[in-house]
Amino acid sequence: MIRYARRAAALCLVLLVALLVNSARVMVFEAESLDDNPANRRIAINRYAQPRGEIVVDGKPVTGSRDSGQQLRWERTYRQGPLYAPLTGYSSQTYGTTLVEHAEDDVLSGTEPMLAPLPLWNDLTRGRQPGGDVVTTIRASMQEAAFRGLDGKRGAVVAVEPHSGRILALVSSPSYDPGVLSGTGPGVKEAWRRLNTSPNQPMLNRALRQTYPPGSTFKIVTAAAALDAGVVRDVEAPTDTPDPFVLPGTRQVLPNEATGCGDASLAYAIQWSCNTVMAGLGVEVGLAGMVDAVERFGFNDTALRVPSWVAKSNFDREMSPDQLALSSIGQFDTTATPLQMAMVASAVANNGEIAQPYLVDRTTTSGGTTVDRTGRRSYRQAMNPATAMQLQRLMLKAVADGTGTNAAIPGARVGGKTGTAQHGFGNTGTPYAWFIAWAQAEDSAQPAVAVAVVVEDAEAARTDISGGGSAAPIAKAVMEEALRLEAKARG
């Protein structure tokens, strides 16, 4: 009997071993795939088990957290939600994250390994650190000035510090409060439905994700291409472009809004925004040269991140000469994000070089220790420094005595370019009013700010002046604020 009892005991041992092996299978070898199963609520529960880190503007958090007492416990709150929504995005238990909330989610939610005191600490403890903070490059007063300037009209403002690439203001209007999307439940779903069905598209990030035909502001790019290619050697010399200008290969006539554009010089064409001159120069540079030049500015770049993804600004790589002519004045298929046009202004202001634009200055632990810092990086050399110098002079002229006088600031060098982009089939849509500009204090070594403003519902007539009328004052307000901050910083 003892022998059989021992065998029965051995059977029990086999059962035990089976249990242990199975435990190791489930808890170690299959653990990762089970942990990551989308139906596993732990992912969400752990994610919201602690307050998120803050997004900081000018030393003050623009976000907060609220204990909901629900299973997905900590909900996001926003101070001045609509003002900062174009940079923060939302963080919602129901709809996920966008923009900086998305790009810096690891830091904000505390899963970033660098937040841990020791390497691999989190792997060992399977825990997470308190959420870290994200310090942005945004200047509150400039952001407010831009937001006030748009005043609820559809449009966007982007302001960049030309030599560093820091994004100082990023406004999209009309905006929304991302806080209404925090949490779960019917209220959140209703808010989501309302925001998504609103004809004003408040959740559309017009500064980074919407592209517009840049209209006449694009003439700066064409001018740079013409100067760099040697098509124009003397900006004051008359060009060989008739007014009106017949689009090559067609019988279609390109008109001017301005007068005196026949055979006008490049300087005159920038100052008064002559379509004919710039279209002619574009054709003269040629398709390959134009594509080369515009792509140095960042057009057709699908990989731009600030760190949020930026929509591609488009300049077609294959066109007939008449399409090229239209494209050279920012029409046809040419489209640009407001950020892209701010980069154009920035390139002129910064002697032809574009610094990589960025929105996140640094990330820190919840205790304030820096985890990562975004340094200045060069994006591209958009044009020769000499070309940039010449364009600076032309843009100054356009503001001093041209289409952009509404942006003039006493005691500062302000260069600008207006634009009114036609869109819609047969030109039926309301035109977009554009203004791109940069400003430099008289006593400063480098420009303080480059800015791009687009206003969708420009009320004025379809003249170039409307860019100067609707958009330039907003740009001026933002630039004044930048100059004031710079002066204050210099003491």
Partner: protein, 458 residues
């Protein structure tokens, strides 16, 4: 009536009693449980629960009283059995208390403590009143009658969650099938001890199989079929599986015929296949076992088994820490059938392995007592009781971890459930008694010969 014995210890050698070892292990068991209790409070609210001292005192008092009973009435008993039982019961209370925090409308820890107290009380009664386990041999047929009565009784009570295995009187519910397994083990042990020679060596031989005579085999198969039949009627598949396994193991140990195992396996497979394909409740569980994530793909969210697997996976190697897991997502039966998932998630593979080893130790000690006993009844009883624990742990742990299809059953001592805790305390009491007989010096060797007479059932 006496047989020459060769394996008795030489006269004059006294086995150590080891009661001091038992007491210090009990102190450790109580301390570990109290630390777990405090840990839950610290993790959840940053403070030790205010009643931690009371909890510790209560558990300590139960352990102490049980220890004193053992010290005076079973001084040679195995010193590991009681501490393991106290530790498992204490940890069970901690886990239930921890889960109570997630379910404010369903508090179970206090009730479980009452049942545990009752269990310990019964443990003491058994240790005090049952002076010699062989007394039970005379109650074999009383046992089986009582077992059947207990199992049939729930048929007259309404079903709870699809199974008719509860008796509800007033606010108390009781699962008589739990207790029936002890009675059945007693009957099997007594009957097999009396008839094992007849079962092994008589009867007709057909081809290579030697069949025992129907007169000997008949009654026990009838009893077994009856109990399994009743359980199937009541849809208590876990327990019917347990009875089946118990029967086969005891039959094998008693007769030593491997054929029984083969026959048992064939029968079990056929039965499992039939029930699995015919009974919709079981069928769905088999489906769930084969593919725990089917409901997720169908868009219905994770089922209980999937949630349980998520729990274990979330525990990983070291666990999330007591009070910090989310096993409550399993929902229904978190505190009973699925209690192991909480242990796995919050204590990790390390803690779970420790738990399994505790059970293994309990089972091993039961077997050891059986092996060192000289009377076949005691031996079979000890092995039967130990096998009950082993099978139960395997069936439920394998079920909630996806090793075998899930059948509802209580993790011994750990799971919420009054009848289960009480029954397991009685099992431990019987093992204590048996191990005391096994290790005590034998003044009356003549009584314990291998061919000890079996009283004809009264």
């Amino acid at each position: 009536m006496t047989a020459p014995r060769t394996d008795a210890p030489p006269p004059g050698v006294r086995l150590p009693k080891r009661r001091g070892v038992e007491l210090s292990l009990l102190v450790c068991a109580v301390l570990i449980s109290v630390c777990g209790y405090a840990e839950v409070g610290l993790a959840r609210s940053g403070a030790v629960p205010p009643d931690a001292v009371r909890y510790g005192a209560g558990l300590g008092l139960l352990a102490l009283v049980a220890h004193l009973a053992v010290r005076f009435r079973a001084p040679y008993a195995d010193p590991l059995l009681l501490p393991i039982a106290v530790l498992l019961n204490g940890l069970g209370l901690v886990l239930i208390y921890r889960l109570d925090l997630e379910t404010p409308n369903d508090q179970a820890a206090a009730t479980q403590l009452v049942w545990s107290t009752l269990g310990v009380a019964l443990f003491i009664v058994v240790v005090l009143l049952l002076r010699d386990h062989r007394t039970l041999q005379g109650y074999a047929y009383v046992s089986v009658a009582a077992a059947l009565a207990l199992m049939i009784l729930p048929i007259f009570f309404p079903a709870v969650n699809g199974a008719k295995i509860w008796i509800r009187i007033g606010g108390l519910s009781f699962q008589p099938g739990e207790f029936a397994k002890i009675l059945l083990a007693v009957f099997f042990a007594a009957y097999l001890a009396a008839n094992r020679n007849a079962l092994a060596y008589t009867g007709r031989r057909i081809w290579i199989f030697q069949f025992p005579t129907g007169r000997v085999l008949g009654p026990i198969v009838a009893i077994w079929l009856l109990s399994v039949g009743v359980l199937v009627l009541e849809r208590d598949l876990g327990t019917s599986l347990l009875f089946f396994g118990l029967f086969v193991i005891m039959l094998y140990v008693a007769t030593g015929r491997t054929g029984w195992i083969a026959v048992g396996l064939v029968l079990a497979s056929a039965g499992a296949f039939l029930v699995g394909s015919l009974e919709p409740h079981v069928h769905s569980r088999v489906q769930d076992w084969l593919d725990p994530f089917a409901s997720i793909r169908a868009g219905d969210g994770p089922g209980q088994l999937a949630q349980s697997l998520f729990s274990f996976a979330a525990g990983g190697m070291l666990g999330s820490g007591l009070g910090l897991g989310h096993s409550v997502l399993i929902g229904f039966a978190t505190k009973s059938d699925f209690i192991l998932a909480t242990a796995g998630e919050e204590l990790g593979l390390v803690g779970l392995t420790a738990l399994f080893l505790l059970y293994a130790l309990l089972v091993a000690r039961g077997y050891r007592a059986g092996l060192s006993l000289r009377d076949p009844f005691g031996r079979l009883l000890a092995i039967g009781l130990a096998s009950i624990v082993a099978l139960q742990v395997f069936v439920i742990a394998g079920g909630v971890m996806g090793l075998i299809p899930l059948t509802g059953m209580a993790m011994p001592f750990l799971a919420q459930g009054g009848s289960s805790v009480v029954t397991n305390w009685v099992i431990v009491a019987l093992l204590i008694r048996v191990s005391d007989s096994a290790r005590a010096p034998q003044p009356d060797d003549a009584d314990t010969g291998t061919l000890a007479p079996v009283k004809e059932a009264a």
